[in-house]
């Protein structure tokens, strides 16, 4: 068990070294980068947006119903919604969702190229298949995913505001005041950093699993399942580590 873990980690590192070799042609890299951005980031906007709006709304209702004590200022609802969103939801929870969406997409795509021999064909041409297929995905996921985090944050706040406007559960002015209360810009950076790290893990580990797929379509299925399980656990683990390092 431990040996298998060490072996997998070792080959993952070797794989990363191959991925980060200098691309043969930058023009090809950028073309792939644009394609991957479309496939990984742009196509995730809808799901991230929908989930964020709803969670924002739910957070407002839950927080408000737990703070019925008249001693507490209603403004705190807005404040707490904002902090929950930026600290945990917009990076960690959204990353867990992306682990399913992006991870299975990447692992099954690369896995089926592996078992149909297309990766062998690339290697035989002298093309660095890992670099060509994986580097644009990893770069796009790592550097553009913080934008998804920002989007999720904005839409979560918006979802909360919609609920406040519609239900008057707390006065809208109090909600807005709470949002502005004791604002800490570092939290946004912290959240964006977490998101980038998680999306790096998602894209590189799923690519690695697909790249090493063996045994036909069953193998592709297994590799995509394994990617999601492994990345989900790693996301939670790194969430703990990064939070301890950056916030404490």
């Amino acid at each position: 068990m431990i040996r298998r873990f060490l072996e997998a980690t070792g080959s993952y590192c070797l794989f990363l070294r191959q991925v980060f070799r200098r691309p043969e042609k930058w023009r090809i890299f950028w073309r792939q980068f644009v394609l991957e951005t479309d496939k990984l980031i742009l196509s995730s906007i809808v799901i991230v947006g929908v989930i964020s709006v709803f969670i924002g709304g739910v957070l407002v209702i839950q927080t408000a119903s737990n703070m019925s004590n008249p001693m507490l200022d209603r403004m705190l609802v807005g404040y707490m919604v904002r902090e929950t969103l930026v600290l945990e939801f917009c990076s960690t929870v959204v990353a867990l969702i992306l682990a399913g969406k992006m991870g299975s997409n990447i692992a099954s795509e690369i896995g089926s190229m592996r078992i149909s021999g297309q990766i062998d064909a690339m290697d035989m041409m002298g093309v660095n298949s890992a670099g060509f297929l994986v580097l644009p995905k990893v770069m796009s996921a790592t550097f553009l995913s913080p934008l998804l985090m920002l989007l999720s944050f904005a839409l979560g706040i918006f979802g909360g505001w919609c609920v406040v406007e519609m239900t008057e559960i707390i006065p809208p002015a109090k909600y807005l005041a709470g949002l502005k209360y004791s604002y800490n810009g570092f939290y946004l950076f912290y959240s964006g950093f977490k998101m980038a790290l998680f999306c790096f893990l998602i894209s590189s580990i799923s690519s690695f699993n697909g790249y090493c797929a063996t045994g036909g379509s069953m193998g592709v299925g297994a590799s995509s399942t394994r990617s999601i399980v492994v990345t989900s656990i790693l996301i939670l683990l790194f969430d703990l580590i990064v939070t301890q390092l950056m916030l404490y």
């Binding site: 043969e24 021999g117 064909a121 035989m124 041409m125 002298g126 093309v127």
Partner: protein, 254 residues
Amino acid sequence: MIKVEHLNKSFGDLHVLKDVNLELAPGKCNMIIGASGSGKTVLLKNLIGLLAPDSGDIWYGGHRLSEMDYDAKKSLRQKIGVLFQGCALFDFETVIGNVIFPMNFFTDWPEEKKRERARFCLDRVNVKDADDKYPSELSGGMQKRVGIARAIALNPDFLFCDEPNSGLDPYTSSLIDRLIHGITEEFNITTVINTHDMNSMLEIGDSIHFICGGTVMWSGDRHSILRTECAELRDFVGANVLARHVISESVSSR
């Protein structure tokens, strides 16, 4: 010239290649024949470096494959064209995109010239009016031809074909055989073909190597194969009705 010395390869307990020795003639159609599961594909993958042998050497000219570093291997591979058993066309590219793919990486040609070269290769293998189709929309024979066009796109010095005519009708398969033979002579390529197809062997086999039980049991050309003394090869070749007649005639006339 490609030379193989004492090559061994096993998967777990299965010893697929046992002490294989081979010399592949430059500028000729070299055929590797043998029953299904005898290890032809494994041998080919060792030759092109997709599998690493357990022991033994493979020489390209004066260079040992196992001793080449990343860059040397990379530049060797640009001189190798491969047609895989399952074609392995890129399904994210169109037909013409597949042929252009290696050019994108290894030439600085303008787009015009790449298309021109791709058209030339596709014409050479008789693929017409299919430039913008995707591989999944092609028949098996078309896929093989596009695979050949992609393999010769960069004017390789070596061409490896794994079962170029499996699953094709006799007419198309003989067409593909002659195509590969023609390309071999026209561009003076060293071609290596894996097959268990008797017709193509008799039609274009300049030099033939028979693999049985994991070793090369017989080497020769297409004229001597029907008069072979090797019993296993006679059984193998004799599975073809026409060849059986010729063999029994040559045995009875002795």
